[in-house]
């Protein structure tokens, strides 16, 4: 009954972090896989030539990730049997309700895209790809919004969180695509160019947002200062080691040096490192965000 012990326990654990990570990965994988149909003429046609062989594989991977995410999220509920309630009793002010609606729709887009590929209905690919890409954007966006709307948690109640989660999903999705292309031997020069461009953008923006977060926490309110202290004392390794050094600085150095960044092996390594950072950054934000409580 002293200052900390009668706090009720932290509500969100590993399942939520893994879900946030995997759904972001699934979303960006969908964007890459649908790129030939949706963004075929952009980047000088690089999206079409680089990602054409990846379409079916990417969609299947995205579907597999989604099939992991759904049950993981349901298993995390205290009442798994009621998993459809957020749709049945839809509450428009709750991002979780929107997420529950978008998640199956995103799944339908993946299945629809695969169906169109299998039956060679090429005219279906672009509309399904555009709709699916918007829903794919909604996936990391709603997970970030889910945190952003928690006005009681100052680490989360921050408009950069949804943007950060979208950017982190670009890193993790790029990592999956790079690994698959490398293993299957389909990492062409155009693919390297495309992935390098996206990874560079994602890691650089993550670096900027990491610095912004650092400044905000140090110059922020008492609760933010408390969270900063918690991050350093409880999650020091995850924050500075896994997220900053391994997940941001190392891949940024690799992609920033032109010779290294355009080497397929090093690019894949950089992407995997950035995915590690994408996971641990989310994990620290989710866990530490729940521990900052004053008055207790």
């Amino acid at each position: 009954m002293f200052e900390y012990m009668s706090l009720n326990i932290a509500p969100w654990g590993y399942e939520i972090t893994i879900y946030f990570f995997l759904i972001g990965m699934a979303a960006m994988t969908f964007v890459y896989a649908s790129a030939p149909a949706v963004y075929g003429n952009l980047f000088g046609g690089a999206a079409r030539s680089a990602m054409e062989p990846f379409q079916t594989t990417g969609m299947i991977l995205s579907l597999i990730l989604l099939l992991i995410c759904g049950p993981l999220l349901i298993a995390d509920l205290g009442q798994p049997g009621r998993f459809l309630y957020p749709i049945l009793y839809f509450h428009w002010t709750s991002p979780l309700s929107w997420g529950s609606l978008f998640l199956p729709l995103f799944g339908l887009c993946i299945v629809g895209y695969l169906f169109a590929l299998a039956t060679k209905r090429t005219s279906w690919l672009k509309p399904i790809g555009i709709l699916g890409s918007l829903l794919a954007l909604a996936m990391p966006l709603y997970t970030g919004l889910d945190l952003m709307v928690q006005q009681a948690r100052e680490l989360w109640s921050n408009p950069t969180i949804p943007v950060l989660f979208v950017i982190l999903s670009v890193s993790s999705g790029t990592a999956l695509v790079a690994v698959v292309l490398r293993i299957s031997g389909k990492m062409t020069e155009q693919a390297v160019e495309l992935l390098h461009w996206f990874l560079y953008l994602a890691v650089a923006v993550t670096f900027a947002l990491f610095l912004a977060e650092w400044v905000v926490l140090n110059y922020g309110s008492a609760e933010k200062q408390q969270i900063w202290s918690i991050i350093n004392s409880e999650y020091g390794w995850e924050y500075w080691g896994l997220t900053f050094l391994i997940g941001i600085v190392a891949p940024l150095i690799l992609v920033a040096i032109p010779k290294l960044g355009r080497n397929a092996n090093l690019l894949t390594l950089a992407a995997v490192l950035s995915a590690v950072g994408a996971y641990s950054f989310r994990a620290v934000l989710i866990y530490a965000g729940q521990l900052g409580q004053l008055y207790y």
């Binding site: 995390d76 009442q79 049945l88 979780l96 006005q151 008492a222 866990y287 004053l294």
Partner: protein, 240 residues
């Protein structure tokens, strides 16, 4: 009406009730009778609380003081838990209560994350007497008692009459008189939740947004145990 609610706030609305609680900290002796009464009234399981009395030691020997801070759901007029619930399982009653529909709750714990007062918890599934489990629960201001003309269990049992309950819309009620005649504070007013638990004469250190590292041995031990327990190191974190 603030967005996402199911009933507009009734504070100051003629013909409506607005139940509220005043806690006179000058009278609290830290006996924890309110905590026990609440545990008994609702069969609250071990490890979770609907109400607590926080204890804080300040000063250095021989100038020391022990502060007590009873805590419960603040039944806010603009409750973030209601706004964030994806199934409308938690809702605002027209008399001011913030209540929970157990049959609709999926225990996603968004409301726990949303609450600035840490007033919510998850009920385990394997309970002895009450069969409600696997859902989020909270203080209800004992609305089942209030509807029968009684006061909440914690108010009934409070030895020092530190907790006072009543209708703020009734100018003759004791809570109205206390709020009108005493300097009262609410917790975290900056969060915009419009809480309806009023404190009389709290120590500044108990309510102000000021962060300080735990100082006493007990507080340090509490902090270590709390962070160790809440690091989310377990898979399926055991919320049930």
């Amino acid at each position: 009406m603030p967005i996402g609610l199911q009933a507009p706030p009734s504070l100051g609305v003629p013909g409506k009730k607005r139940w509220a609680m005043v806690i006179d900290l000058r009278r609290c002796i830290g006996c924890m009778a309110c905590v026990c009464a609440d545990k008994a009234e609702f069969d609250v399981p071990l490890g979770v609380w609907r109400t607590v009395v926080k204890v804080k030691n300040t000063g250095a020997f021989p100038n020391t003081k022990r502060h007590f801070m009873p805590r419960l759901c603040n039944h806010c007029d603009n409750p973030p838990c209601v706004r964030n619930c994806p199934t409308e399982a938690t809702y605002k009653h027209e008399d001011g209560f913030v209540l929970q529909r157990y049959e609709r709750c999926i225990a996603c714990r968004t409301c726990i994350a949303a609450c600035p007062y840490n007033a919510r918890h998850v009920l385990p599934n394997n309970r002895d007497h009450v069969k409600i489990g696997g859902v989020v629960d909270k203080c209800t201001f004992c609305n089942h008692r209030v509807e029968k003309g009684l006061v909440p269990a914690c108010v009934q049992t409070c030895l020092g009459r530190s907790r006072i309950f009543g209708d703020l819309n009734d100018p003759n009620s004791e809570v109205s008189r206390l709020v009108a005649t005493h300097s009262t504070v609410v917790l975290k007013p900056g969060k915009g939740t419009q809480p309806q638990v009023y404190y009389i004469k709290p120590d500044r250190g108990l309510t102000e947004q000021a962060y300080s590292e735990p100082v006493s041995y007990a507080a340090k031990a509490d902090a270590r145990a709390f962070y160790r327990h809440n690091r989310s190191s377990k898979f399926f974190s055991g919320v049930l």
